[in-house]
Subunit: 131 residues, 2 copies
DNA sequence: TATTAATTTATAATTATTATAAAATTAGAA
DNA sequence: TTCTAATTTTATAATAATTATAAATTAATA
């Protein structure tokens, strides 16, 4: 299964890789339009699915309605600002012994952990202290 | 704001409290029907929202399409079996110093953490070793 | 080049959920 | 108790995100 990057998939990948946020499919669509592309909505979804399957992007489900996409594919966590909705990366790894405890408690074989933190980002904290 | 538990809300709460899984709104609807109730779909959603607001149930967004509901309202985490979809509780608390590290890394004020683990449950592990 | 396979497109369908407005129920005041 | 106001339920329509479908395009292969 060789990598098949069509023009559409390449353009979608480019958007996700150069985003400094975590765009949704709709965000990707908008940015494609700004870059002069007019792909079908289905194509954007297909491309995101394809890119996820081949491991070039990650699909994030952070509890909002829409999935977000991330080109940082190393395993990591996320933090969401409850004020402005901004999403940032958390690269600190969960301690192995905590995972061990969870496995012990549940009798599961744990494959993967994903943490979603909620809080207030620096900008929003600053903004509220100026009120 | 006194608690207003209508018949409908009480019945919904009862379903969630006596479930040993984590039912979705559709699951709750089905079980209500089995118990002889025939409420409108909107009522089930309204009831779940109401019960969530007053803190009698928790809404879980575990990355599936539909929200699940949980009557265990103390803060805890969840683990999902990738084979059978079963969801279990993880009550082991995240170490405070890990949260501290995450806060430091991101410059957020962290309010809340939710972990979703993925793995294979004991039953599925047993089943696959018998193949 | 002819043929097959893969992909894109436009559109319809699906799923989970929320919104709306009328009808029913409940609560509080007169 | 009776009237009125507020709340809730119901039925249905609307919405949002996503997937499915089938025809049209493009690419790959024999």
């Amino acid at each position: 299964m060789k990598l098949n990057l069509t023009i559409q998939r390449k353009a979608v990948l480019d958007i996700v890789q150069h985003a400094d946020d975590h765009p949704t499919a709709a965000d990707v669509m908008d940015r494609l339009k700004s870059n002069g592309y007019a792909f079908a909505y289905g194509t954007v979804y297909n491309s995101l699915r394809y890119l996820t399957e081949v491991g070039l992007v990650k699909e994030l489900k952070l509890g909002e309605a829409a999935s977000r996409y991330d080109a940082r594919t190393e395993d990591h966590h996320h933090i969401v600002c409850v004020r402005c909705g901004r999403v940032d990366e958390v690269t600190t790894e969960l301690p192995a012994d905590w995972l061990g405890k969870a496995a012990q408690e549940t009798n599961y074989h744990v494959h993967h952990a994903s943490v979603v933190l909620e809080g207030v980002c620096a900008a929003c904290t600053a903004a509220s202290s100026n009120e």
